[in-house]
């Protein structure tokens, strides 16, 4: 079986909050449910923002190839896995 492609993020503390325009689409009728969904949407957006920020932060830190993904570092000089 082909290995599931997954790029590993290096976890680091983040302090940014997601911008949120409340555009999630679930529409429960009860007001308390609506509030609950909005809270959950904000939470999901915050997590999404944090993950995207980590992803691109790692890319900007490492500059090019190895370091941001969860695989052994590749030595470009001899193309062998270190």
């Amino acid at each position: 079986m082909r290995q599931l492609g997954a790029l590993c993020l290096l976890l680091m503390p983040m302090h940014a909050l997601a911008a949120n325009d409340g555009s999630m689409t679930a529409l429960p009728e009860a007001a308390n449910q609506q509030q609950s969904v909005q809270d959950r949407s904000l939470e999901v957006n915050q997590l999404g923002f944090e993950l995207v920020t980590r992803f691109f932060h790692q890319l900007s830190l490492t500059g090019s190839a190895s370091g941001v993904i969860g695989r052994p570092k590749i030595d470009d000089s001899n193309q062998k896995v270190q």
Partner: protein, 245 residues
């Protein structure tokens, strides 16, 4: 991982774009499963350079569609699929690309997987790209929280946005590549079809697509994210032209 410059990357071949700084806006995240996050957003990456191609991408905001899954063993979020719709606008002069761009010509030979993927893509084609059909199926293949982006820079959530799609003629597929996990399925494929969004005709040449499916508790595969890299056949109204020289 699919980029608008044509590069397709897997876990094994991934070479990231060289990025110095970035800004994020218009982020919308959904959580089809507790351990799956789909995020569509705009991001600006000034002077981002492809080391494979020696090209520099547009510095303006451009869409991305990224899905993350939680590895239960390590409790780490991993990038499951990533669509980058930033287009290259400059070529580094005399750049000798050290990394070969490999063509995508793989089709998984496992008949069971091929059958599954084919059936999902047929549904995707029929239900997403046929006007109106996806609308009553918010709990079906196209969920309200499905993240969709297309090459015109437009992003939307599934059930509402699917109304914008219209398709004419048959859809042809080729160069299918899939990676199947226990609860996730990522499919990269190329399509060729006639289409329009809100009356704007798109190119009818081969263009890549990147779809992520998730297995729900009832055992049904549902679409979690879908990125189309097709683009308008003619520049949309409002796009400024620039003369050479």
């Amino acid at each position: 991982m699919q980029r608008a410059d044509g590069d397709f990357e897997t876990f094994k071949t991934y070479e990231p774009i060289d990025i110095d700084e970035f800004s994020i806006r218009d982020l919308h995240a959904s959580r089809p499963r507790p351990d799956l996050i789909v995020v569509r957003y705009q991001i600006a990456t000034p002077d981002a350079t492809s080391l494979k191609r020696g090209t520099i991408g547009d510095s303006e905001f451009a869409p991305r569609l990224t899905s993350f899954r939680l590895n239960p063993k390590t409790n780490q979020w991993l990038v499951l699929s990533h669509a980058n719709l930033n287009v290259p606008i400059q070529q580094i002069c005399n750049y000798s690309a050290p990394l070969a761009v490999e063509p995508v010509d793989k089709f998984d030979a496992d008949p069971a997987k091929a059958k599954l993927v084919t059936s999902l893509l047929v549904r995707l084609t029929e239900e997403v790209r046929s006007a109106g059909k996806a609308i009553p199926q918010a709990d079906g293949l196209i969920m309200a929280e499905t993240g969709i982006v297309s090459g015109d820079g437009y992003s939307r959530s599934g059930a509402k946005g699917a109304r914008r799609y219209q398709a004419a003629g048959s859809t042809q597929r080729r160069n299918l590549f899939l990676t199947l996990g226990e609860k996730d399925l990522v499919v990269r494929f190329e399509t060729k079809y006639q289409s329009a969004i809100d009356g704007v005709a798109f190119t009818d040449t081969w263009q890549p697509n990147l779809a992520t499916f998730t297995l729900d508790p009832s055992g049904q595969w549902k679409l979690a994210s879908f990125a189309l890299f097709n683009y308008p056949a003619v520049p949309p109204a409002g796009v400024k032209c620039r003369r050479d020289g």
